[in-house]
Each structure stands twice: as structure tokens, then as C-alpha cells.
């Protein structure tokens, strides 16, 4: 059977960094083929090369046996290859239909939405997707936005679907539903390349190609391998969960949130009465799909967003209406979701970023001016203590890798004794090694008696380090469970609002 797609010795570099190194693999018609690897292993880059978004330095791509020069996505689309990116590529202010139709230019100059609508509706029916085509994308929950992305690809007649980490933003039920639909597609002889680092999903595919540091490790049949084997190939060493999590020693209540209400940037209610308590020596993990209020919660806690109602107390003191400066000086550390956009000034040097927020502190000044010698000393200590890989403290932060940028933020935030640590998706986009490091650091804080509030889309992470798991859904806390009693099925249901099936699948096969 001639493979639908085959790559031969594909190599792609960015600056001097080799993203993928001589990767050869193939995809057969009607199969779900997983690309497995850690963050930075090259999975997305490989996919983007196949899709024509990037041009490889070396290697070839064959579609149905014929060599093809994928000079642009238009080329790929023309050959029936479609890609759904990890971070959605949608125009929030346009409607679902417009997002699907834009650029497909099938009807001349005029925009014929009527004809397109019929076609899209047909696709929706075929795959049992319920979606109102006239809603603006920003109004859709993340899971449904994913469907818009998939429809975009189906609308232009893709036979090979590339999905980049599609379930990162889905609840367990939505993931299952997605896979059922993917199977439906493969039965029609379509193929799927599924990029993932979640073993649960990988095990549902037909074959897996494992990438590590840009090189292909192996391609195996999924039913002939095990989790452990896959993990070992993915990481390249035996995985030791080094996390020694002591028994919880709960201290006093450090953070108490009562009936907290706030709006999002669009003026809609984002927090609808959050009640939460975090004690010293406790890690509270917030489970939930992105877009249910996590961002707004953290922003309100650190004082950047105004609370409309409710109360936030830190060690008994009401900090609801306080400024970020005040709150941080009271011992609150914050690790934001988006490292480079929210946590750092990318054009500043590493040193300058390490004093961000403390630029007025007496310990960095002498005679009224910033004392750069003291700053450098502090920076060097941080770089050493936290093993931040950087040529020097004067290096521009933009050049740091995601993991090192995160370490910089942690070093900075923990430089002052933090009674309360807030972390929003701290492991997103990081290698296993750095993730382990992050967890160690957080557990250390926990051991010291600090309170930690952590939000993560990765349930495994929460099970690993949290003491208590709460679920956030549409701005409310749906339930709180000590981790030993937290049943993943129940958590999954709560993540979609207590059993109400609100994802976009109306029927199942």
C-alpha cells in the first residue's frame, strides 16, 4: 500500500538551532499516526514543513509517491493536506462561517456565504457537529473553536489532517468525542497525523513516530508497544519520578477568597462567585479547560483586574482592592501563564528582568540611583541557584529558551519569601526536565509552609503535586477534593459543568 505521505531525511533549522534532523516517516491512508515527543522535540516543526508553512533545508516530501515541493500552505491544501495548529488561528471578531470561508475563493469576486453555508452545514451533519455558523468566534468556548479549525480544513477537502495537540484544550469527554470522529474519518480513508505528548491519546492511534531532540527515534505500531516503552523513547532515559511529596502539614489559612466576582476584557462575567481557601503548606490545584476564568482569577488576585464583588484576604488582611505593588510586597509571588508577554520584558537583560518589580527596592539602590553592581551580584546568584542557562546576566532575555525564562521568573518571584505563590499553567510548553524542576521548587515552597494556588490544564500534573483539586467551570468552583479522593471521571464531568454535555457533538457513532 503506497503511503499517502512520506518524508525523507527532512531537516529544518532556525538560526543555528536544528529543529528537525533528517526525519523520515510515512503516513498510510486510513490511519491515525501519532507524532510523539517532548516540547521542543520538533513535532510541530515537522508538521509545519509538511504543511508548507516552513521550508526545510534538506530532504524531500512525497505525496502518493510523487515528490512535491511544499512551497506554501496553498500547495499543501491543494494536495489535500490540512493543519489545525496548536494555537488557534482564527479571527475572533468574525463569524464561524467567515473564518471557514475566508481565502477559499471559490466563487469569484463576490462573497457568496449562502453557498458556503450549505456546504459547511453538510459537513457538520456528517460529523455530528453542532455549531451555529453565525456566532462570532470569540463567543465560542475553546472546545468549539477547535471544531471551527477542523471544519476549516475539511471545507477545503483535506484527506490528510494534521492536528497539533488538539486535546490540550478539551475536557476528557470532548477528547473522547474527538477521537470517535477521527475514527469516522479514517474509516472513510482519510488519514490523521496527531501531534501529542499525552500518552493516553497516543495509545489510541494506529502507529506512533517518536521524536527526540529533532531526530526520529522510531516508528512503532501502537498495539505493539507500552506506555513505559514510549516514555523511555520520548525522554531517552528511564523516567524516575523524583518527587518526594511529604505528607501534607496544613498550616493556617493564608488565602481566603469569598464570593469573588469579576468581568473579563469583553465586559462579560468571568468570575461568578469564587470561594476558595488555601492553607500554608498546601498546594491547591485548579483543574479546568482554558477560558473558564483562570486568567481572570489570577489577575484579580494580584490586583491587576478589579473585583466587582467579594473579598480576598491574605493572612487575614483584606487585599481585594489593593494594587499589584502592595500585594506583591505583602509576599505574593506570581508565575503567569504567558512567560514572555506577562512575566518578562523580553528586550531587557536577564539582570534587569530579575529586578522587575523591585526596581525601587533599597537593596538595589545606592544614593538614589540603581546600583548595578548589586543588581549584577543578585543576578549572578539567581543564575547559579536556579541553573538558568544564559551566557551572562547582561544577555537579552528574548534569547532565552522557554524553560530558562520560566526559571528566571521563579528566581525573581522567590527571591523574596513568598507566603503565597500563584501559578497559572506553569508547565505549559516546557520539557519534562524543566517541569520536574518546577515541581521540585513548588514542593519545596510547600515544605516551607507556603501556600500555593496552581492552575493547570494537565490533570496528571495536578494529581502529582496538588493536595487539593478544585474544578473551575464558567467562573465558579464546582467542587473541591483532597487529591486522594479525586475521581478523574467526576473531575472530568465537573470540568464541563456537572454532567451537562455542552460540547459540540450531538450524536455519536
Amino acid at each position: 500500500m503506497e503511503p499517502l505521505l512520506r518524508t525523507q531525511a527532512l531537516t529544518k533549522k532556525f538560526h543555528q538551532v536544528v529543529a528537525i534532523d533528517s526525519v523520515s516517516f510515512d503516513v498510510r491512508p486510513g490511519e491515525i499516526h501519532c507524532l510523539l515527543g517532548e516540547n521542543g522535540a520538533g513535532k510541530s516543526t515537522l508538521a509545519e514543513c509538511i504543511y508548507g508553512f516552513y521550508q526545510p533545508e534538506q530532504g524531500e516530501i512525497f505525496v502518493e509517491g510523487k515528490p512535491v515541493q511544499m512551497s506554501s500552505p496553498a500547495e499543501a491544501i491543494g494536495r489535500g493536506i490540512g493543519m489545525v495548529h496548536q494555537h488557534f488561528v482564527l479571527v475572533p471578531t468574525l463569524s464561524v462561517l467567515e473564518n471557514i470561508v475566508v481565502g477559499t475563493n471559490t466563487s469569484g469576486i463576490l462573497l457568496d456565504l449562502g453557498r458556503a453555508e450549505k456546504e459547511v452545514k453538510r459537513l457538520c451533519e456528517r460529523y455530528c457537529v453542532e455549531l451555529d455558523l453565525t456566532t462570532k468566534v470569540w463567543q465560542l468556548p475553546v472546545g468549539q473553536q477547535q471544531w471551527v479549525e477542523i471544519l476549516k480544513v475539511l471545507y477545503v477537502g483535506a484527506r490528510l489532517l494534521i492536528l497539533d495537540e488538539p486535546t490540550a484544550v478539551l475536557t476528557p469527554q470532548e477528547s473522547r468525542a474527538l477521537f470517535e470522529i477521527l475514527r469516522m474519518m479514517t474509516r472513510e480513508n482519510m488519514s490523521v497525523i496527531l501531534i501529542s505528548h499525552k500518552l493516553n491519546e497516543v495509545l489510541q492511534s494506529d502507529r506512533v513516530t517518536i521524536l527526540r531532540k529533532g531526530k526520529k527515534v522510531a516508528t512503532v505500531k501502537t498495539d505493539e508497544t507500552t506506555r513505559e516503552e514510549l516514555t523511555a523513547m520520548m525522554i531517552g532515559r528511564e523516567v524516575e519520578i523524583n518527587l518526594t511529596k511529604d505528607d501534607p502539614v496544613m498550616g493556617p489559612e493564608i488565602l481566603v477568597i469569598k464570593n469573588l466576582r469579576a468581568r473579563n476584557d469583553r465586559g462579560q462575567a468571568a468570575l461568578r462567585g469564587i470561594d476558595l481557601v488555601v492553607r500554608g503548606g498546601e498546594i491547591v490545584g485548579i483543574a479546568g479547560v482554558a477560558g473558564n476564568g483562570q486568567k481572570e482569577l489570577f489577575e484579580t488576585l494580584i490586583g491587576v483586574r478589579k473585583a466587582r464583588a467579594g473579598q480576598i484576604s491574605l493572612l487575614g488582611e483584606d487585599i481585594t482592592r489593593r494594587s499589584p505593588k502592595y500585594i506583591q510586597e505583602k509576599g505574593v509571588a506570581f508565575i503567569p501563564e504567558d512567560r514572555f508577554a506577562e512575566g518578562l520584558v523580553p528586550d531587557f537583560s536577564v539582570e534587569e528582568n530579575l529586578i522587575l518589580g523591585s526596581q525601587r527596592a533599597a537593596r538595589f539602590k545606592s544614593r538614589g540611583f540603581i546600583d548595578f553592581v548589586r543588581v549584577a551580584d543578585f543576578a549572578n546568584k539567581c543564575i547559579a541557584d536556579y541553573e538558568i542557562a544564559t551566557p551572562s546576566g547582561k544577555t537579552i532575555t528574548r534569547t532565552l529558551s522557554g524553560g530558562n525564562a520560566q526559571k528566571l521568573i521563579v528566581a525573581r518571584e522567590f527571591a523574596q519569601a513568598a507566603k503565597l505563590t500563584l501559578a497559572n499553567q506553569p508547565s505549559r510548553g516546557l520539557d519534562v526536565g524543566v517541569i520536574e524542576y518546577m515541581h521540585q521548587v513548588l514542593l519545596e515552597k510547600r515544605r516551607e509552609g507556603g501556600a500555593i494556588l496552581l492552575a493547570s490544564e494537565d490533570l496528571d500534573e495536578l494529581y502529582n503535586i496538588a493536595d487539593t483539586i478544585v474544578v473551575i467551570y464558567k467562573g465558579q468552583i464546582m467542587g473541591a477534593f483532597p487529591v486522594a479522593e479525586a475521581d478523574i471521571q467526576q473531575i472530568g464531568l465537573l470540568m464541563v459543568g456537572s454532567g451537562t454535555d455542552e460540547f459540540g457533538v450531538a450524536c455519536r457513532i
Binding site: L90, P92, R398
Partner: protein, 314 residues
């Protein structure tokens, strides 16, 4: 003062409003298309000035208004071409580029004017300008006839451009693509279409409209060329885009409001009412600031306005 409220005066003010709105409307619509494509072109003023000058000088040289008009349009397109080259290809800071174009136009128009007419002594060169075109039958309607149907050609063009631009943006494929560019260019890129090409097309077409606006200031209005003849109209056009909330209909209203202020001021001066004329001259600019203060929370400003698009960058 009683005379002031006579209908003839009101009609004359309204007619003047439509006339004065012409360059503002054209320039603002041209800028709208560019901004919808994600390019903030602060060089509108400079563009209008150079186009105005081109219109004037080519009319003078060739003795033909149509040649002048063509020259103005080409100049408008070229100025904007330069802008989009720097913004979309070189991806330099758009704000400063626009300013640089203004300064260039300011100096260049004056330099060329003086250099060209250096030998004419004290006699200032003049040209024949566009005449009013009375629309048959419609111009005889009482009141409306004078206000709407006894204008110059470019005014009719400007008014027609409002639905035309609307149709282009909302009823054509390209319009949809352009609207995407300003919000999320990656959408276009991942569909395999050229972001840069589309930005070029949008901005250059916008430049054509701006060129028409500039043309009106000279060959549509006055027989002479004065340095800085555009007098801030380009800047007002930028404010009009904001005040009109990036929609053709809103832009029409905003342009008429500003034009009305000026028409009113002219009439008042003519009648000799005791108001310091500087106050009236400053009024449009003050109103502009006020409008910007008021017009913020419901803004439909293109999300990626003035942000250069880089493929796959951190």
C-alpha cells in the same frame, strides 16, 4: 443675527459642508482600507499634500485637469506604496515611517514648487479648476438640489465611494481577507495566501483614494498652490477613521461633522459675527480630541493595527 437663520444661509452652509467633506471623506476611506489591512498610515497628510501638488503641477504643465487628476491618483498610490513597502516588507516601525513621509512630502512639495516656478518672479501660477457639475433635473429640487446635486465631480465620487468601500469590505472575497489581515494575519498566511501581497493591494488602493482627496484640495477647489495647502486635513482624516469606528457609514457622518464645523466657521466669518476667528479655526481640532475621548470602549479598532506580521516568531 436674525439674518443668520435664513434658509438660504443654512442651505449654503450645508452645501459647503458636503463640499468641504470631500477630501476628508476620500482620505478617511482610503485610510480605512489600509487600517483594516493592519497598516497604520500616519502619512496621510503628506500623501494628500504631494497628491495635491502633483495635481496642480501636472494640470499646469499639460493644461489638462484629467492629466492632473491622474497624476494626483498615481502620486497617492506611490506614496502609499512606499509606506506599505516599509511597513509590510521591511517591517519597520509604522508610526515613525508615516511621520517621515509627512516630512518628506512637506519639504519636497515646497522644494519642487519653488524650483519649478523660480523664474516666474512675483506672479503666482494659477490653473483652471474643476467646475461644478449640476446633475440634470435633480439639481433643481429645492434645497437638496443645491446641497447634494450641485457639487463637483470629485464630491460625487467621494459620496459614491462610501457604499463602494462598504461593498468592497463586506461583500467581496478580498474585503473579507483584508478584514482578517487587520485582526489576525496568520489566518491568511496559514491558508497559503500572501499576507504581504494583500497588504500591498489594500494600501495602494487606499492610496488612490487619498490621492483623489488631495487632488480635490487643489484642482478641485483653488486656482493656486500654497505651501501646506492641506492644512491638517490628513490628520483629521485619521481622527475621522477612529470617530467613525472603522466603518464607512460612521466615517461619512464624522467627515460631515468636521466639514460642518469648517463650513459654519466660514459663514460666520463672512457674516462678521463677533467671535475670535482663531477659536473657530481651532474648533475642529478640539472637537477631534473630544471625539477620541468619547469613542473608546466600543472600539472596533483592528486588533493587529500597526503590528508587523512575522511568520513563526517568538
Amino acid at each position: 443675527m436674525g439674518d443668520f437663520f435664513q434658509t438660504t444661509i443654512i442651505v449654503s452652509i450645508l452645501a459647503a459642508t458636503v463640499r468641504i467633506a470631500t477630501p476628508l471623506l476620500l482620505a478617511a476611506l482610503g485610510e480605512l482600507v489600509a487600517e483594516r489591512a493592519g497598516i497604520l498610515n500616519l502619512g496621510v497628510e503628506g500623501n494628500m499634500l504631494m497628491s495635491a501638488f502633483s495635481g496642480f503641477i501636472f494640470t499646469y504643465i499639460f493644461g489638462s485637469l484629467w492629466v492632473g487628476l491622474l497624476a494626483a491618483v498615481l502620486t497617492g498610490a506611490l506614496m502609499n506604496l512606499l509606506m506599505v513597502f516599509m511597513a509590510a516588507t521591511l517591517k519597520v516601525e509604522q508610526v515613525v515611517t508615516g511621520l517621515a513621509l509627512n516630512m518628506l512630502a512637506s519639504g519636497m512639495s515646497l522644494f519642487l514648487y519653488k524650483a519649478f516656478f523660480s523664474g516666474s518672479g512675483n506672479k503666482l501660477p494659477t490653473i483652471q479648476i474643476f467646475e461644478v457639475v449640476q446633475i440634470p433635473f435633480l439639481s433643481t429640487i429645492p434645497y437638496m438640489g443645491e446641497i447634494l446635486f450641485s457639487q463637483k465631480l470629485l464630491t460625487y465620487v467621494a459620496l459614491l465611494m462610501v457604499p463602494a468601500v462598504w461593498f468592497f469590505l463586506y461583500r467581496t472575497q478580498y474585503g473579507l481577507e483584508i478584514r482578517c489581515l487587520g485582526e489576525n494575519p496568520k489566518v491568511i498566511d496559514t491558508k497559503g495566501l500572501s499576507v504581504t501581497l494583500r497588504q500591498y493591494l489594500a494600501v495602494v488602493c487606499g492610496g488612490v483614494l487619498i490621492g483623489l482627496g488631495g487632488a480635490f484640495v487643489t484642482i478641485g477647489s483653488t486656482v493656486r498652490f500654497i505651501p501646506e495647502i492641506t492644512a491638517g486635513r490628513g490628520w483629521l482624516a485619521l481622527v475621522i477613521v477612529i470617530a467613525g469606528n472603522w466603518k464607512p457609514s460612521g466615517i461619512l457622518i464624522a467627515a460631515l461633522v468636521f466639514a460642518f464645523l469648517e463650513a459654519f466657521q466660514l459663514q460666520v466669518q463672512g457674516v462678521g459675527v463677533q467671535l475670535p476667528y482663531q477659536l473657530l479655526l481651532a474648533l475642529p481640532y478640539a472637537v477631534a480630541i473630544l471625539l477620541m475621548v468619547v469613542k473608546r470602549s466600543t472600539s472596533e479598532e483592528p486588533g493587529r493595527l500597526a503590528v508587523p506580521y512575522f511568520r513563526g516568531e517568538r
